[in-house]
């Protein structure tokens, strides 16, 4: 199926404006919103995963070693991960 160009013509709009591409919001990079970003200190990180669990953007992922990092394409810099990290392994720096 050919990719539709945005903005769509009326003929191209899906009937009823239905959306058939789940999780297509990923095309909108909310990372541009933030004023600060989280930085992990892996010497302090205990790999508990609480930061991953509490991120409203679901943008924190686990790497191969079990440490965590934020996908800066989407991180809005809210600071929840920093606030909830028990061993204080995360700090927010200006971005």
């Amino acid at each position: 199926m050919t990719e539709k160009k945005w903005p769509e013509t009326w003929q191209d709009t899906n009937p009823g404006l239905m959306i058939f591409k789940p999780a297509s919001s990923r095309s909108y990079l909310t990372g541009g919103w933030r004023a600060q970003k989280p930085i992990w200190d892996n010497t302090k990180c205990i790999k508990c995963g609480v930061c991953y669990l509490f991120c409203p953007e679901a943008c924190i992922t686990e790497d191969a070693e079990g440490f965590f990092m934020a996908d800066l394409n989407y991180c809005k810099g809210c600071g929840i991960c920093y606030h909830e990290c028990w061993p204080r392994a995360i700090k927010m720096v200006e971005d």
Partner: protein, 388 residues
């Protein structure tokens, strides 16, 4: 084989809908259409129809539940009148905008202020612009036929729009008539199961009812409008198929003694049949009266209307609702708009008759015909028969 039955039209409508094998019915009772959901409930309760019947707590929830059910891929039906329609009003334009087929029977009843449970078209006129395919039945047979046709039209892959079947409250809903009721085999042949374009199910993920920002809203509205206008093609096809199967013909505008008429009257709904009696009487006197009966109201049959009034000197548009403070009554305003550019258009008079269930009599139509033939009207619209 179709069977000849004698039944209250509302119950017959319910029987016809049951033959269409709906999956979900969500309806709330309101006079005068109550017998439709009641009889359907009986049919389901006796095991004659495999259907989920939701006895919803309001009309708003009725149409909401129908929308949800249609979104999930089911064949759905609801019925209401007047205030019930107004209570579900918020959802009425949402259904066609989501391209979901929902079939609704509207037992035309006056809208409140003052509260009145009897027949007129004011409830339909509130929703005519919201995107539903709309038909008007003039008698019991048409009611049955249109209910079944509505499912085929609305669920058609090129249409995917809700359909509204209008039948006059009390004048039709509570009247017993002789009708030909198709049997299950015939309806199954005419109406295959619904094949939804999209349905809510994890096997094929879809988001419906999404946000339309200003940069796409215009296109969405245009797309829906085109869908409604183009549905006429399918409606005519379905009507042709119906005629082949059942021998009963349907056209957007049907006429009675209109070919050689001097004065033509345009009606919708059951009052057309009363007008026909008046026309027969007038013809006896040598007065050349004729009738055109609007069966399809949305999409508006402009071409058929122009054709029907060609050569006619006088057209009387009979409305059964008021467009308060407007330029004319609702149907007349549209008729005038369609005929405006025609240099040979007839003189158009407009009478509003039968509001709030006031009886529409043969003598009334005779009077209206004779009045129209004489003079040009002073006011844009007249409520016929108001005392004072």
């Amino acid at each position: 084989m179709s069977k000849r039955i004698g039944m209250e039209i509302a119950m017959a409508a319910a029987e016809a809908v049951a033959l269409c094998r709906p999956d979900v019915i969500a309806a709330y009772p309101i006079t005068p259409n109550t017998h439709i959901p009641e009889h359907l409930a009986e049919i389901v309760a006796d095991g004659h129809l495999d259907c989920e019947y939701i006895a919803v707590e309001s009309e708003h929830s009725a149409l909401s539940a129908c929308t949800g059910a249609s979104a999930a891929g089911a064949r759905v039906f609801t019925a209401t009148s007047s205030q019930g329609l107004l209570y579900m009003y918020e959802i009425v334009p949402v259904v066609p905008s989501m391209r979901l087929p929902v079939i609704m029977c509207l037992g035309n009843r006056a809208i409140s202020g003052p509260i009145n449970i009897w027949n007129d078209h004011s409830d339909y006129m509130c929703v005519r612009d919201l995107g539903w395919i709309s038909m008007f039945a003039s008698n019991g047979q048409e009611t049955i036929d249109m209910c079944i046709q509505a499912f085929k039209i609305g669920e058609h892959a090129d249409v995917m729009l809700p359909v509204l079947v209008n039948l006059d409250g009390f004048q039709l809903t509570h009247v017993v008539e002789a009708m030909m009721m198709p049997d299950q085999e015939e309806v199954d042949k005419f109406l295959p199961p619904r094949k939804p374009f999209a349905a809510l199910h994890p096997d094929n993920i879809v988001s419906m009812g999404t946000l339309g920002l200003p940069d796409i809203y215009n296109e969405a509205k245009k797309a829906n409008d085109e869908a409604l206008i183009n549905s006429k093609k399918v409606i005519l096809e379905v009507w042709k198929e119906w005629e082949k199967m059942f021998g009963r013909k349907y056209e957007p505008i049907m006429s009675y003694k209109a070919n050689d008429a001097d004065v033509l009257m345009l009606t919708m709904g059951s009052m057309g049949e009363t007008a026909q009696v008046a026309i027969d009487e007038l013809r006896k006197e040598g007065f050349k009266a004729g009738l055109i009966d609007l069966k399809l109201y949305r999409p508006f049959p402009a071409d058929e209307l122009k054709k029907a009034v060609k050569g006619i000197k006088n057209l009387i548009v009979i409305d059964r609702a008021v467009m308060s403070g407007g330029a004319a009554a609702p149907v007349c305003a549209e008729v005038k708009s369609v005929l405006y550019d025609d240099p040979d258009r007839p003189v158009i008079t407009n009478d509003i008759i039968g509001l709030g269930g006031r009886d529409v009599k043969v003598e009334d139509f005779i009077k209206i015909f004779k009045k129209a033939a004489k003079a040009k009207p002073e006011r844009a619209y007249e409520i016929y028969g108001v005392r004072g």
